[in-house]
Symmetry: C2
Subunit: 320 residues, 2 copies
């Protein structure tokens, strides 16, 4: 029996008596960051229906795919076909991940209007994930971001990964993350998404990093947070970011995805768990939770494994 | 690969620049609240080893069992034997749940030194769980608490269940919870444990309830919080309570237990997920996380199902 079936939809919101945004924009990353990290390769028809269902549920920013070389991410090798067949909705944005100039060319040819680049806050992860050093990564991004902004008029998000901890380096200093972030702004990024790629952060560390960005003159409106729930901290960290004025949050329907470096790890913050909290706090978000839960249950059936989202498990009738 | 294996134990704490307690006392409820709600009945030898391992891991308050009638909770029918065979550690408290005078007699005979009574914040749950009305429940507790305090010199905790939402009544008002709580203090309880029995609360509601208790003259030092992770909110709610000065938190090793009214629901806040956050915040707690994870992995093997704790899954080598 789900609690919502016995009266809890009437639970009135209880706004926090602190600074919290009135509205949060959810950047739904399930179709890209989520599916990229699932071992199952999902057919393009399922991805298209997933994106349609997410839009139906009221999500307005849907990360659709990645134009990385198919050799590296076979799960998203259908990026061109996906974008060609996608029925774009009015009022919905479909950003994609673009790793390099070749990826940008493919994205532009596919009619993409908004992109993200994926940077590392640490030397070790830059070398392992991007095959170049921390400083060298910017040389790769410069022509991509430059052309996307100048020639294509795109908005570009700079993902910063490993913002709190790195599997090879341990703790990551806020100064280092800010330095990487400011260089991405300098290149032309209009937004950063600060990622806790391995899910180790705790609320005090979130406060410290966001405060360091604020001290460097960055507006909270230009930052997104991207937490993984590997150690169960994602929602507490998100709450902390909201209190500091962040109003853009990355999350993944059903908690899809995970960290490839931790075999049993849970994935991104589940959009449903976020929406439950936002509803309780009286923060607007535009998402129909029941429709979203049905979507995640449907996707879990396609992936053949239960959703790690607590809300999906509780409301999905055991089918999540 | 767990992140801790590659350097993250060196992650320095990042205290929040707000009011947070320097030290938190964890009330480990896995052996009672956890095992009571598991479908598997665990042999007394396993329970005894579980309690020993929890004490070895540094936990200092271990809810050991319940002296409820075995007909209602067959999982804990071995309460007398458990308490007789338990090797009590210096510096560790072993409170037990006592439902009525008969239960208190049994507990006293078993050498129990600290008890808890289980009250309801709502009429509906009082009738269903206690078989009497909201006001009538106090008549049941009065002789129990009175005798425990006066004749036995025990400290008595008053659990207040359904403090935020109730499956039959929906939202529960803070005023009503405070009214129930104050009556428990009047009866002689020295502490309340405020329970979100169905896991629906969000941080603003936590703030409202704790503020209402403060307005009624209750010290945060006399309150514990008890969150369930059914909708993924437990740790964000706990963080909110800590910020308001609460320093006693109920949690369950491995997230054992669950709400019997939500079939697929996850259980209590996992002690490991709490400890991860406290470590990050630089809050003392005395628990050895690795020893605790090993204990939860061991118990998960005995129960034949994986732990719902994120930390146990991430650090337990997939065996959680």
């Amino acid at each position: 029996m789900g609690a919502r079936e016995v009266g809890l939809p009437e639970l009135a919101p209880f706004p926090e008596p602190h600074t919290l945004p009135e509205r949060v924009t959810i950047w739904e990353v399930g179709a890209r960051d989520g599916l990229q990290n699932e071992s199952t390769v999902v057919p393009v028809e399922v991805k298209l229906e997933f994106l349609d269902r997410l839009a139906d549920a009221g999500l307005t920013v849907l990360e659709a795919t990645s134009f990385v070389h198919p050799r590296w991410v076979p799960q998203l090798a259908d990026a061109e076909e996906l974008m060609r067949r996608l029925s774009r909705r009015a009022g919905v944005r479909y950003p994609v991940l673009v790793p390099n100039e070749r990826g940008l060319e493919r994205a532009v040819a596919a009619g993409v209007e908004q992109i993200a680049v994926f940077a590392s806050a640490t030397e070790s992860f830059a070398r392992r994930n991007l095959n170049r050093g921390l400083d060298e990564q910017f040389a790769m991004f410069e022509p991509v971001v430059g052309r996307a902004v100048s020639a294509e008029g795109m908005a570009v998000t700079g993902y910063v990964s490993m913002c709190f901890g790195d599997p090879w380096e341990g703790a990551v200093s806020a100064d280092q993350v800010v330095r990487v972030g400011l260089r991405l702004f300098d290149l032309g990024c209009s937004r950063l998404s600060l990622g806790d790629t391995i899910g180790v952060a705790t609320p005090g560390q979130v406060t410290r990093l966001l405060t360091a960005f604020a001290d460097a003159g960055v507006a909270m409106a230009d930052l997104s947070v991207h937490f993984h729930d590997t150690y169960g901290q994602a929602l507490a960290n998100t709450l902390t970011a909201l209190r500091l004025g962040v109003s853009n949050v990355d999350s993944s329907a059903g908690g899809l995805g995970g960290c490839p470096y931790a075999e049993s790890a849970t994935g991104n913050l589940a959009t449903e768990d976020l929406v439950w909290m936002l509803d309780g706090l009286g923060i607007q978000h535009g998402v129909d939770l029941d429709a979203l839960v049905r979507t995640s249950v449907w996707m879990a059936e396609r992936l053949g494994r239960p959703s790690p989202s607590r809300v999906v498990r509780a409301l999905g009738g055991g089918r999540g």
